[in-house]
Symmetry: C2
Subunit: 187 residues, 2 copies
Amino acid sequence: MDTKSLIIKIATNLFQQKGYIGVGVNEILKACTITKGALYHHFPNGKEELLIACLKNIDEAITTDTEVIFNRYQTTMEATKKMIEKLVANFEREGTITGYTFSSIVSEMAALSETVLNACSDLYTKIQGIYSNKLVADGFSKEMAHSIALMMTASIEGGIMLCLTHKTSEPLKIISRGLPNLLKEFS
Amino acid sequence: MDTKSLIIKIATNLFQQKGYIGVGVNEILKACTITKGALYHHFPNGKEELLIACLKNIDEAITTDTEVIFNRYQTTMEATKKMIEKLVANFEREGTITGYTFSSIVSEMAALSETVLNACSDLYTKIQGIYSNKLVADGFSKEMAHSIALMMTASIEGGIMLCLTHKTSEPLKIISRGLPNLLKEFS
DNA sequence: GTCTATATAAAGATAGAC
DNA sequence: GTCTATCTTTATATAGAC
């Protein structure tokens, strides 16, 4: 792998584990076994430029992964249950959830960087689009699908946060069981 | 007001707006028009000790406020709708949600400080307890009330995050409309 | 394209006068 | 209990050799 891709790969992991401000440039360098010269050659605008590249990387990974799951299973319900199962397994294995969320980045950057916030906004929109399309295929109207997709995203992201806070996978498991109520028409 | 209370009050506001790492000690001092001497006299262990004091402060404010609302209205549904209305109004007025959340603090501190994480965990448990009690009064079993309360917390926290990300109050409004589906028995 | 060495700024914290 | 002045560490970023 070329140096640039390596930096992005390793930095992505670190940012998801510790947040943007929680990871120093030096830590990234050490993890990559490279030095400042290399990093600033590939990312002249420094750490924030690297973060944007990482967000794009996360974006692709999440989108691809979600699409695969949502294509494999017949209904939104099945697909979502499987997705949450993966999140739970991830959490129980590693104690964090690295693959599917960026809410910590949103939270810490919301007041700090417009660029980063926009990147996160796009990403959520994209994920919700996948949910929404599947819901339309399930028979919901476009508007209802939009609303339900939003509620799914909110519940799952909130659930991830509760798992991290309470250090147990119970919240996501309960949310999974409550899905049938979530995936229903409402006013 | 005495200096210590003043520091806590102002720091609480800043932490909620910009997160823990996003606010420097110097910024707090400036906002309080005091100097380091005063701050480190009241909080010998520095910034983290101050944060814990602020979390307790938020805790009381949120708990009191939530209890008032949940006592005033007959059902969990009505109370929750009113609560979300307040969140939406807060967001539309100030562009942020300062009074009712601490998820950004959780997210950024999750990997960094055990103490802070525990304080946040207690707080969520307390809020969910209020929801849960009301749900039992509504007629749900204790276990079901626990599960629904958790889903409420997850949706609302997730909804707040989506509002911040997309810079619109739409997510919370949609969640409010979807509440009837959330507040139902499930397996 | 990657290295070493250095610059520069900001953070949190302390010491001691008043 | 609050001030000023200072310390220490750490952060991001740059310059220039190879």
